[in-house]
């Protein structure tokens, strides 16, 4: 089980926290415990890119900010689609592609937690719920120095929350 990245979106559709556990290489067997969490919460740094061959006309790697926007667009569309089909009570839990799996949890206050993991991972909904209850509420909401709203992610990426999140995710693995 590998966690690739984690995002929080507030009710104004803004990405208020993102964290990427970048990985330099895909382990050949997939079983290697070579997860090296290169921790960084700022949006400027990307996973290291080894040069793409000239022959490979892949679209350029997106910046982490664009990634977050795309993820929000995806979950927003899917959530609406699911509600349309499954009724207003239904909620979207996760989707999986051949390469990764995206887990989704929405709080009653419309804060959205998103986690990207490898495809083998089972349901992470309660993990996201625990992150919300035990980490977000404890270290962000109850922090007297943190503002009520978090424009530009202000107040979320505090030391305690980051540390606890890192430990929690490592503990889950």
């Amino acid at each position: 089980m590998v966690v690739y990245s984690f995002y929080i979106f507030d009710r104004h559709t803004e990405c208020i926290y993102s964290r990427i556990w970048a990985r330099r290489d895909r382990p050949a067997s997939g079983s290697g415990a070579s997860t090296r969490p290169v921790s960084d919460s700022s949006s400027s740094s990307n996973p290291p890119i080894t040069d793409l061959g000239p022959a490979r006309a892949r679209p350029a790697r997106l910046s982490a900010q664009d990634d977050a926007k795309l993820i929000f667009g995806t979950i927003f569309s899917l959530r609406n689609m699911v509600r349309k089909l499954g009724g207003p009570e239904d909620s979207f839990i996760s989707y999986r592609t051949g390469q990764y799996k995206l887990h989704y949890y929405e709080t009653p206050t419309n804060i959205k937690f998103v986690m990207l993991t490898d495809t083998q991972t089972l349901n992470m909904r309660n993990v996201l719920h625990q992150i919300y209850v035990n980490l977000y509420v404890e270290f962000v909401v109850k922090n007297p120095l943190s503002p009520v709203e978090h424009p530009g992610g202000e107040g979320v990426a505090n030391e305690l929350f980051e540390l606890a999140l890192d430990q929690f995710v490592k503990g889950v693995l």
Partner: protein, 150 residues
């Protein structure tokens, strides 16, 4: 075991087939289904771009073509499970089932087979257009009805 519905989307994102097999999902207007097909088509394309891994294996062997990143394959919600099968030519089969339906892969492959037989081999079918093939409808019903009543 319940299969709720099937949707087929052509490679341009247009809805070409929609059929319900059991109660369980909300009924939408045909316009809403068209919007849904277009939305899913777009989200599917975006989901391929979000791949957090950038496969180093593909880069090491330059002569072999790397496996293209796949879009959404399975979507889970509280009330249903959506399996998406995308053919090599870009046609998408969306199958809505119960959340814990087993063997959806096999079901969707069989549906693809029926599509290949009774739609693509029909001289009156115009490619990429909505599917109106009586034999396809009948065979699909024959295949899915026993599964649903089990």
């Amino acid at each position: 075991m319940v299969v709720y519905a099937l949707i087929i989307i052509n490679k341009a994102g247009g809805l070409i087939y929609q059929r319900d097999f059991a109660e369980g999902l909300n009924k939408l207007s045909i316009n809403d289904y068209l919007v849904l097909a277009g939305t899913f088509h777009g989200v599917h394309a975006i989901s391929t771009r979000l791949n957090p891994l950038h496969s180093s294996t593909a880069r090491s062997s330059t002569d072999s073509r790397p496996e293209p990143p796949s879009g959404i394959e399975v979507l889970e919600t509280e009330n249903f499970r959506l399996q998406c099968f995308s053919t090599l030519t870009g046609t998408k089969f969306l199958l809505f089932t119960e959340p814990d339906q087993p063997n959806v892969d096999a079901i969707i492959r069989r549906i693809y087979e029926l599509y290949a037989d009774y739609v693509m081999k029909n001289p009156f079918y115009q490619i990429e257009m909505p599917i109106r093939c009586e034999v396809f409808d009948r065979r699909l019903g024959q295949y899915l009805r026993p599964l649903n009543s089990r």
